[in-house]
């Protein structure tokens, strides 16, 4: 298992403001000088991750105090020059919210060449609430996603003459990548899943499949992926095709680790602060998905603890740990917790690690990343492979 450092780059001073953290939060609450200091600090921490031998993951959101990175490719363009070893993962680019997929392909090519072929690209559905900022049509969202995907792949991989594109949603007279990407046929592609159903689709395509903060559900996501991959490709996927995202708080002693975890927990409590009408814009989800969701009730989507109960949003660190969303303690503790979770989920090769989250400050983040890189990462790199026949008997 390898580790990718990830932070949402929050503007945490706004967390004290009551109410929603996204869409409706007015921008006058942002002190731009403070935002600049924080963004530079987060970049410093990404550079440290590179020095420590960790990889890097960047995301983006819009109109949100919880995430100031509004363009993963802009952030990665900086890191392409300022880092030297790390793989650089954009997870991800919200494709169906982008009006211009050709521009997406150009940015991918630019960052891939700048970084000498270290880019990995996540093409994601994105957060539903961002339709209010992109103002793209909610209906037909996934049709648009897949057409953008097809166009971007065609652009990145083109070895022949320039071509034109007359699709259902996108229209171009000529497609020509200057520069074109270093990695051929294209940089590795990632997608995200929270159910076995969507994971199967990615398994067939052979893309890397990540699941975020899903706890026990990760096991069914991974097994869905493996089944579909094996059917389509005639062999089992490598562990490098599977990824899990969680918060890790590590320190030399447990008391400090738990204090850090408390500072990071505001990631969960602030992410939940969003007015309900923005969670699921009309027309965004297919009708049948909405029917099932409403019948299942609001707690159905919450990650669950070992006793089967959903984690409360303001749950304790122990409850978040129990659900597999946080890994907290000394390097030994964190290693043991991750090794156990790895076994329970059938094994995955990428830990997308929120090594900074919420209000965790710079000094704590530096120590957290350093300890994990020096004392946990080398052991995770040598995790024993789980025999295939054990994978489906695991607890979870």
């Amino acid at each position: 298992m390898i580790i990718w450092q990830f932070t949402e780059q929050a503007y945490h001073p706004a967390f004290q403001t009551p109410g929603s953290m996204r869409v409706t939060l007015p921008q006058h609450l942002c002190d731009p000088a403070e935002a600049g200091r924080l963004l530079n600090r987060y970049l410093d921490e990404y550079m440290l991750a590179d020095e420590l031998g960790l990889n890097i993951m960047v995301n983006e959101h819009h109109a949100a105090a919880t995430c100031m990175s509004t363009s993963c490719m802009t952030t990665l363009a900086i890191l392409a020059r300022q880092t030297s070893r790390a793989r650089l993962l954009a997870l991800g680019i919200p494709l169906a919210n982008r009006s211009n997929p050709l521009r997406v392909a150009e940015e991918i090519s630019l960052v891939d060449t700048l970084s000498n072929g270290r880019l990995e690209i996540g093409l994601v559905k994105g957060a539903a609430y961002e339709l209010f900022m992109s103002n793209r049509q909610p209906t037909g969202f996934m049709d648009r996603f897949w057409e953008a995907h097809d166009l971007i792949l065609a652009a990145l991989t083109n070895q022949g003459e320039n071509f034109s594109w007359e699709g259902e949603h996108f229209h171009y007279r000529t497609v020509s990548m200057w520069p074109r990407p270093i990695q051929q046929p294209h940089p590795p592609i990632w997608m995200t899943a929270s159910s076995a159903g969507s994971a199967r689709g990615y398994g067939r395509l052979g893309y890397t499949c990540a699941t975020f903060l899903s706890g026990a559900v990760a096991r069914s996501v991974f097994s869905g992926y493996r089944e579909a991959y094996a059917e389509a490709h005639g062999r089992q996927p490598g562990l490098d095709r599977l990824a899990y995202l969680a918060i890790v708080a590590c320190a030399s002693d447990r008391a400090t680790a738990f204090r850090r975890a408390e500072a990071m927990k505001s990631y969960f409590t602030t992410a939940a602060r969003l007015d309900p009408q923005f969670r699921n814009p009309w027309g965004f989800n297919p009708v049948e998905a909405n029917v099932r969701m409403l019948q299942a009730g609001p707690s159905a989507m919450r990650p669950r603890m070992r006793n089967g109960k959903p984690v409360p949003v303001d749950g304790s660190i122990e409850e978040y740990m129990d659900a597999g969303l946080m890994f907290v303690g000394t390097p030994d503790d964190v290693y043991e917790q991750l090794a156990r979770f790895n076994e329970e989920t059938g094994g995955f090769g990428n830990l997308l690690m929120m090594g900074q989250a919420g209000e965790l400050d710079h000094a704590d983040t530096v120590d957290n990343l350093t300890l994990i890189a020096r004392e946990v990462a080398p052991r995770l790199a040598k995790l024993p492979e789980i025999p295939l026949d054990m994978r489906y008997e695991a607890v979870g």
Binding site: Q137, T139, Q277, F278, P281, G283, V287, V291, L294, Q295
Partner: protein, 264 residues
């Protein structure tokens, strides 16, 4: 096609109509001259109180727009402009050469899209709190953005008692989700209007009545002026104690007004 039983529409018949291969849910009730009713953002079920009253004087024909209720939608039909053409086909299918046309809210927009294309298809047109003209000018909004409102706030502004969605029987829940989806398809952006409509409205040649609710919490008074300017020959009045859903708030007064208008 199976149409769901809708108890509030028990006074008429729900049936399926094939319009050039598209199955449309059609509610019919009453006797008399034909009246085509085009529903608003709350579906035919939301218009039940007015339809019941209209059925005393008219043969009411109230289809669910493509994508609403249980009506199918052809994949490339995604604009209200397209709905205008679709309804001309629907009228042809019904053998309805001319008819009274009443459209409420979103359905008022649909009515104008039909009649700007073939102005002679209506004996008279009644627009109830219609949408369809430009709803905002840069930062100034004249029509509340229903997609930005919480369900609770929306129901309050529509003066509607809607049970919690999760408590609805599956078929009703599916209708509600289909109605929301269709409204988002037709009205997300540009928000609830066709930028071409203002320059086409002069083609509407039949007698026209425009009614607005005095207490409309969706449409601001300034918006009424745009319709008055684009349809200068129309009669316009305000209905007291009526909100955006005039068809539910003032069904009897409204039906009487429409019946009187129909006889001229």
């Amino acid at each position: 096609m199976v149409t769901d039983a809708l108890e509030e529409l028990g006074f008429g018949t729900l049936s399926a109509l094939d319009v050039l291969g598209t199955q449309i849910e059609l509610f019919t009730a009453g006797e008399g001259a034909p009246l085509l009713f085009l529903h608003g953002i709350d579906g035919i079920e939301g218009a039940a109180p007015l339809l019941r009253e209209l059925a005393r004087d008219f043969t009411v024909l109230a289809p669910s727009h493509p994508g609403f209720g249980t009506s199918q939608r052809p994949p490339d039909l995604n604009r209200v402009d397209d709905l205008g053409y679709f309804y001309l086909d629907l009228m042809d299918t019904l053998g309805l050469r001319r008819s009274m046309i009443v459209g409420s809210s979103f359905g008022g927009w649909v009515a104008t899209e039909i009649l700007t294309k073939e102005p002679d298809r209506a004996t008279g047109l009644v627009l109830l709190s219609p949408l369809g003209l430009r709803t905002a000018d840069r930062r100034e909004q004249h029509v509340a953005d229903i997609f930005m409102l919480s369900r609770q706030e929306l129901n309050a502004r529509l003066n509607r008692d809607e049970p919690a969605l999760s408590s609805l029987p599956e078929a009703r829940l599916r209708r509600a989700m289909r109605n929301d989806e269709a409204l988002s398809l037709y009205g997300w952006t540009p928000y609830m209007y066709n930028p071409k409509l203002a320059d086409r409205l002069h083609r509407i040649s039949c007698r026209t009545l425009i009614l607005w609710g005095e207490a409309d919490a969706i449409v601001e008074p300034a918006y009424r002026n745009a319709f008055a300017a684009a349809l200068p020959a129309a009669d316009t009045s305000l209905i007291e104690a009526g909100g955006h859903r005039l068809h539910a708030d003032q069904p009897q007064a409204l039906a009487a007004r429409i019946a009187a208008f129909a006889v001229g």
